[in-house]
């Protein structure tokens, strides 16, 4: 197929005319479709419904060490839940704290504590003139919303196929004491699906931060969220690598079962070095008496161990994979073949990050909206909502049914073609 770039102005005008006619037809269809939400589908949620039955009034409601899970206390979580999450993150259960239902909330709390209390005796950031975070882009909008909320200056770090541009990361972290953190989604990154290479993880672990309280915010959101049985990404263990490099306290790791069981009712966790855990527990003990231990028990009773989680995640993958594959095939046929769309082929996670022609992302989102197809706002995967090239679109395939997704995707590619043609015509 001829790429749009190879077409003459006349050919593009003709193409545009045909696409506009199609677009007008679509607009009359009264569609109401959504590819914006990184949420499991109802079908996926149903996979976990037995979770609701495994802990009931006939159980003893004690943890393995005899704690009454119904009552107050046990700030760090029950031992069997710490062990399960420890297995998931490949770390010592003593390095894990189990929280409530939201890993985002843990990250927020950790940034808030940096601001208000400081880490391990360091100066609270609210007393400093300037605090900066590095933000690999495209990235997760809710990470950036947290740092923006606290007035932290955010610095874009371009993503490569192997993770963030580590030359830049090293340059900033190792020279600027105002750089206090970096947001990372190391496995199946949000939204690109990039898997950090071993070299990337090692370079992270071997940073020599100018700030003693610099922390890597390692959001391992998709640690077990593979799409393919035979192509499961494995990343190096950042906590072990940091230990080896003499930087044991440099990383906070986060995860949850939000997209394993129920997004509103899972368990979330933080893992870190013993010194960090002690520091965090001291602060956390002021904030709460403990999290929901019955729900912790419920999760352990349901999964038993990592093998239980793995086989459960296969069922999620079986539902999600066809949606990703359908989209990728369509994008290849309709967009890549015309030179107007590229993406990293994700092997896990929740998104496809489509790069369209520069200057087209906003126009595509607007046109889709007018046609009744909701996309994530253009710019969302960037700090301050500003995509410097206006070209990244985060596509969320999971929530709609396959039928809805097919309909939405057909509209979407038509609009990408239309906006691309319009853009190239102006340039000819």
């Amino acid at each position: 197929m001829k790429s749009y770039q190879e077409m003459s102005k006349e050919e593009l005008l003709k193409e545009k005319e045909a696409l506009e006619a199609e677009y007008q037809k679509i607009q009359t269809m009264g569609l109401n479709l959504d590819m914006s939400r990184g949420k499991p589908s109802a079908e996926q949620l149903t996979l976990s419904e037995d979770l609701l039955d495994v802990v009931n009034s006939r159980n003893t409601l004690k943890s393995e060490d005899g704690i009454d899970v119904r009552n107050y206390g046990t700030l760090e979580g029950i031992p069997e839940a710490r062990r399960l999450i420890g297995e998931m993150l490949d770390c010592d259960p003593d390095q894990v704290i189990i929280y409530g239902n939201s890993s985002l909330n843990i990250m927020y709390d950790q940034v808030a504590r940096g601001e208000l209390s400081g880490y391990m005796g360091n100066t609270p950031w609210c007393r400093l003139d300037k605090v900066k975070f590095l933000c690999p882009v495209p990235g997760y909008d809710r990470h950036f919303a947290i740092t923006q909320e606290f007035g932290i200056e955010m610095i874009n770090i371009p993503m490569t196929q192997n993770g963030p541009d580590m030359d830049l990361v090293e340059q900033y972290v190792n020279t600027d004491p105002a750089v206090k953190g970096i947001w990372c989604v190391p496995k199946y990154s949000n939204p690109q699906g990039v898997v950090y290479s071993d070299e990337t993880v090692r370079r992270f672990a071997n940073l020599k931060p100018a700030a003693p309280d610099f922390r890597i915010f390692w959001d391992n959101a998709y640690v077990v969220h593979h799409l393919y049985e035979d192509e499961q990404a494995e990343i190096l263990n950042i906590m072990k690598e940091c230990e080896l490099a003499g930087n044991p306290d440099m990383v906070f790791q986060f995860c949850s079962t939000s997209k394993v069981t129920f997004p509103g009712s899972g368990i979330a966790a933080l893992a870190a070095s013993p010194a960090n855990i002690a520091d965090i527990k001291k602060r956390l003990s002021i904030q709460t008496i403990g999290h929901d231990k019955i729900n912790q028990l419920r999760h352990v009773a349901y999964f038993k161990d990592m093998e239980g989680i793995r086989s459960h995640m296969k069922k999620h993958a079986d539902i999600m994979r066809p949606k990703f594959e359908m989209l990728e095939e369509l994008f290849r046929e309709e967009l890549a073949s015309r030179g107007i769309g590229s993406w990293v082929s994700p092997k896990g996670g929740y998104f496809i990050s489509l790069e369209v022609l520069p200057g087209c992302a906003k126009a595509i989102v607007d046109k889709c909206k007018q046609a009744g197809v909701v996309l994530t706002g253009a710019g969302a995967p960037f700090p301050y909502g500003r995509d410097p090239e206006d070209r990244v679109l985060r596509i969320a395939p999971t929530y709609p049914s396959m039928e809805e997704l097919k309909q939405a995707a057909a509209v979407f590619v038509t609009i990408v073609r239309l906006a691309s043609a319009e853009k190239l015509i102006l340039e000819k």
Copy 2:
């Protein structure tokens, strides 16, 4: 009976000798008892076990407005849970946000937000030289721990039989713009069980704060926690009174079902004016995508309405009341009769706050510890852990069994008598 104050030095010395012999005997008994914990007993927790069965895989798992409670979202909580808590607090469901399992965590977050973001456009406290909170004493140690954590200066306000000394409260709040908050447990106060009078509530509502961002932290922890069917305290509705007084935004109200269902697995809530709710939701949306809606549904399915909560609380009262009454009778016979102990007779809540002779509280706690009976640390109900007169002891009757409590209480009164005699001998 002759009071200790009326006894001669010789009589006291004889009394002390007898008590010392008894104390030595007690120390050999190898007791391991605890009156320190404001926790429901296992028997109380069993009352709520059916809560675990009412939501299961056979349910539809939708809220009344059709929200899938398993998935992300609904930051403010499902409508039926907001209605239930609204009924409990006598306020509009729209003025309620349902959180996770801990009202303490909500209070911490609200103070943290005052520090970091400021309320409704006011200056964040972390940018001010000095921030002060008023602390009615004796009060709840975990409240004071939060304000201490943030370096907020705490000012003791003596409690009266009708609530905090409102002359002092008015004087501070209405003249000092550094006073940003006050901690209140208005019904069955922790630890005294004081019920704020109508006049106290009205004077609160009619404060004219020097600080535009002054807030009353109204921790309605024991709103439905009555001990007596026929002596249920009712306090005026602070939110309505504040509205009437033209101060609608001056109060944050907090509550939870921690001591209604399960302390680790209840639901907690905040209620406030529409302007506060809008401000809080804006901040909260950065912190989390939503709380555990399945647990919200579980609570509504279990209780149905306030009548359900009321009849459930009667069952708690039936277990708790005999423990309170046993202690009060013993204290009357052994302590009040000798002029060495006084307290407010609590009609609800979780504690008895015993006032012993000045300078005796620490000695009593230490002696009890040596005898194997754990009490709440002396000073705990005061900011910075400092009881200026060293005379307040917080007694928590609920957690031990009746048998354990009887044993512990017998040891306790012996030790109060011993410490009181020792103290008075030194003064003769």
